[in-house]
Amino acid sequence: MSERGHHPAPLSPVERRVAALEALLTERGLVPEGFIEEITRRYESEIGPLNGAKVVARAWVDPGYKGRLLTDGTAAIAELGFGGPEGDHMVVVENTPDVHNVIVCTLCSCYPWPVLGLPPSWYKDPPYRARMVREPRTLLAEMGCPLPGDVEIRVWDSSAEVRYLVLPQRPAGTAGMTEAELAGLVTRDSMIGVARL
């Protein structure tokens, strides 16, 4: 009985299946040493919405950069050092007082990894994917982003190779802020288009 409490919790069915596939592939020499740890580290610390926030803040303070960003998103984002898988064909769509953009992937979960990181669970789950193309006005309001009826909503379904990033409007009252301070205002949700700043 002295070992009580030292046993790990029993594995759930999905954990048993993951362990089974991992063991079999490892036995066949297909899983490089440390590979799983490397994947975890890469996606937890190298990429994330902080990258996108830097892109947005630069566009707010530098009209020339903003112009390049809206013309060739991939190249302008690469100027800040960001790029790679799911970011090879970037299109940046600009919010204005009259137009609100929002991104979705109805067929799977395509998302601009280099600038936003991996997508949140709700972006990958059926309700968001089903509803954003059919009733975006209702869904945005439910998610805390009600829009006046005269604001046009443009939904972008990432169904091919392009990945989208929303350029939110710069909030009022931020004229004296530095680029780094501005980046701190930019949220993941504002760059997906489910929030306004």
């Binding site: 066949r28 297909l30 899983v31 994947i39 937890e44 949140p120 669970s121 509803r131 059919r134 190779e161």
Partner: protein
Amino acid sequence: MPVDGIHDLGGMQGFGAVAHSPAESAFPDRWQATARALMEVVAGAVEASGGEFRHSIERMDPGHYLTSSYYEHWLTGAATLAVEHGLVTHAELEARAGGRFPLSGPALAPPVADTGPDVGEPRFGVGDRVRVRDWHPPGHTRCPRYVRGKAGTVVRVDGTHSVPDVEAHGPARRYEPTYSVRFDAAGLWHDGQRGVTVHVDLWDSYLEPA
């Protein structure tokens, strides 16, 4: 096994609220990171294209797809590809897991023997009216069901890319331009909301002149 897969969710009704969270870690549980890594291992070992990877998930049993999380999809797809390419057997997986190990259903489309010619020059330009072919291919496609048969306007011409419908089913490839096509919500849905446009990125062969 439905031809129009359960993954094609755009416009489906009855799902309820989005479980929105402002922030979350990339992998709340370690098995999710492992599942992601194992898909990368398998896809690399069998040289799976993006289309073959996606289709391995789309072929999941619809009930399983809707009731399992994103990384369980990846696990199921990875295991399916591993079995189909002979890396492991289904019996080995179930023996090791000590229970059922559901895999995706079989691909219904055969490998494409004759891909037809690549399309180098875009057939359409910005402002052109196009209509999406109304068809239901038995295999993988990136043409969402909710735009089939619908007319829209080209707003952007993108580069030339491998057609998913071809690459998902074998080593053959065909390259075509893709376009961003704008649809008015009122033309997509009987209850389409005012002031809404939906943009879908579509390969050349999905479209015809409107």
